[in-house]
């Protein structure tokens, strides 16, 4: 007879309070039933569930019941276990609605593809007893890039001249990682600034979360490129600037064409707010503006222009 969770935890996690001990699960299909104190058994490995993971955006917690933060009882290390959750949902981008789908097998495939590549979150896929592909993810030892930028307490001009050149160089490297995926006919699927971490050890940027997909026929990587555009605007601006967040005098200068092609209130022509931004860099931002007539359709083109912009910072 297999050991109960109580016996198992008494042996492998004696510090864990007995009153919180739950069940052992080998089938993760009913992921909503699995909660803190339960143990997920995958092969010979045991993972003690500590809590459901949550995304923190706009000051709100959005629980992700299919992602469990766990302690690996054999190694003592921390892992995230992503359980199978199929969903399709409409994602609103400005005035447009795009259908996104969560695909466990896409994420599994990308995890295999990027194994050992420090530009990406690492992990592996193991089938549970019901055949569900459970992704065992290593927790990225780092901090979210957007949180690091938002925590800076310095004038924009100081940031731009001292820290930004290195931020841009790192971001170009992160774009290279996305281009590398595209060249292998894969997309990240959810390029957002909170999906980019800065490694504590190396300072390198690390992409996380690859399970979204979408079906754009003529522009298969369009949404990834759009995401990269949003991030570079945020990094150049040391945060996001909207028509509501600027002074009345600045607002006088802003035309509709200076704003994002997707979000009418987001200013992307940042040179109007920060005149020391070189044209080579501002021109990249303008490719994501309502005033643009030509758009990026390949990440390599964006990288080429960002590299020129980086050179212009040194000049």
């Amino acid at each position: 007879m297999p050991p109960s969770a109580r016996e198992l935890l008494a042996r492998l996690a004696p510090d864990f309070p007995a009153r919180h001990v739950g069940e052992i699960y080998t089938d993760t299909t009913e992921f909503m039933s699995i909660s803190a104190g339960d143990v997920i058994k995958l092969g010979e490995r045991h993972f003690l569930v500590l809590r459901d993971e949550a995304e923190r955006r706009f000051g709100l917690e959005d629980p992700k019941f299919w992602v469990k933060r766990c302690r690996n009882l054999e190694t003592g290390g921390r892992n995230l276990l992503k359980l199978v959750f199929h969903e399709s949902f409409p994602m609103t981008i400005g005035s447009m609605v795009v259908t996104c789908t969560r695909s466990p097998r896409k994420e599994s495939r990308i995890l295999d593809l990027v194994r050992g590549d420090p530009r990406f979150m690492q992990g592996e896929t193991v089938l549970d007893t019901a055949g569900n592909p459970v992704r065992i993810l290593e927790v990225v030892a780092g901090k979210r890039l957007d949180e690091k930028i938002e925590a800076l307490e310095m004038p924009h001009q100081d940031y731009f001249h001292t820290l930004f050149p290195d931020v841009l160089a790192r971001f170009i490297e992160a774009c290279e990682a996305i281009a590398w995926l595209h060249e292998r006919n894969e997309k990240h699927g959810d390029v957002r600034r909170d999906h980019l971490y800065v490694s504590y050890d190396t300072g390198r940027y690390v992409w996380i979360d690859f399970d979204y997909t979408f079906d754009f026929q003529e522009s298969p990587f369009g949404l990834d490129l759009f995401g990269l555009g949003n991030i570079i605007q945020f990094l150049v601006g040391m945060g996001q600037h909207t028509t509501q967040s600027i002074t009345p005098a600045q607002r006088e200068l802003i035309e509709p064409e200076d704003c994002s092609i997707m979000f009418a209130n987001r200013i992307v022509n940042l040179k109007k707010l920060f005149p020391y931004i070189p044209d080579a860099l501002n021109n990249v931002l303008l490719r994501f503006s309502l005033g643009a007539n030509v758009f990026y359709d390949a990440t390599r083109d964006l990288i080429r222009d960002l590299t020129k912009a980086h050179d212009a910072l040194d000049a």
């Binding site: 399709s88 447009m96 006919n185 754009f216 026929q217 003529e218 522009s219 369009g222 758009f295 359709d297």
Partner: protein
Amino acid sequence: MRDTKILIAFDGSDNSLRAVSYTAAMIGGGQKRLVTVAAIERPPDRDLFPDDLSWKAECARRVDAMRASLLDAKAMLVAVGIPDDWVETRFVESCRSPLRESMECSIGTSIALEILRLAEEGGFGTVVVGRRGVSKQEEFLFGSVSTKIIHAAKGLAVWVVA
């Protein structure tokens, strides 16, 4: 020879049917023109399906529908008096298709570039494409076959039917 060969980019949509209809009106009853109605297979993204069985079923359904649409397009051209042997249809399978039988296949990164490749390899002088009239935002995110054809075409005429 090149000037007498016309390639219609076809995807079964109303816009591409307009392109066929316009071509029929332009050349019906006139001098000899060889018309190819070409469709590039666009299988649905495999990751959007919970399993391969349902993905393959949808791929097969789309292939059948597209082959039938191509025959309809040919019939539209023949109906205006263009001889049957002046019109051919072509269906380029996707390299990603689970049903693929032919050696030649589309890698699927850009329908527009695939069409232009066919035009160049086949010595076509004219490419006809329908335009769906997308907003700037849609073009930014979803891309536009006609816009990309206009930008990338070299050494041939492009008819854009809006």
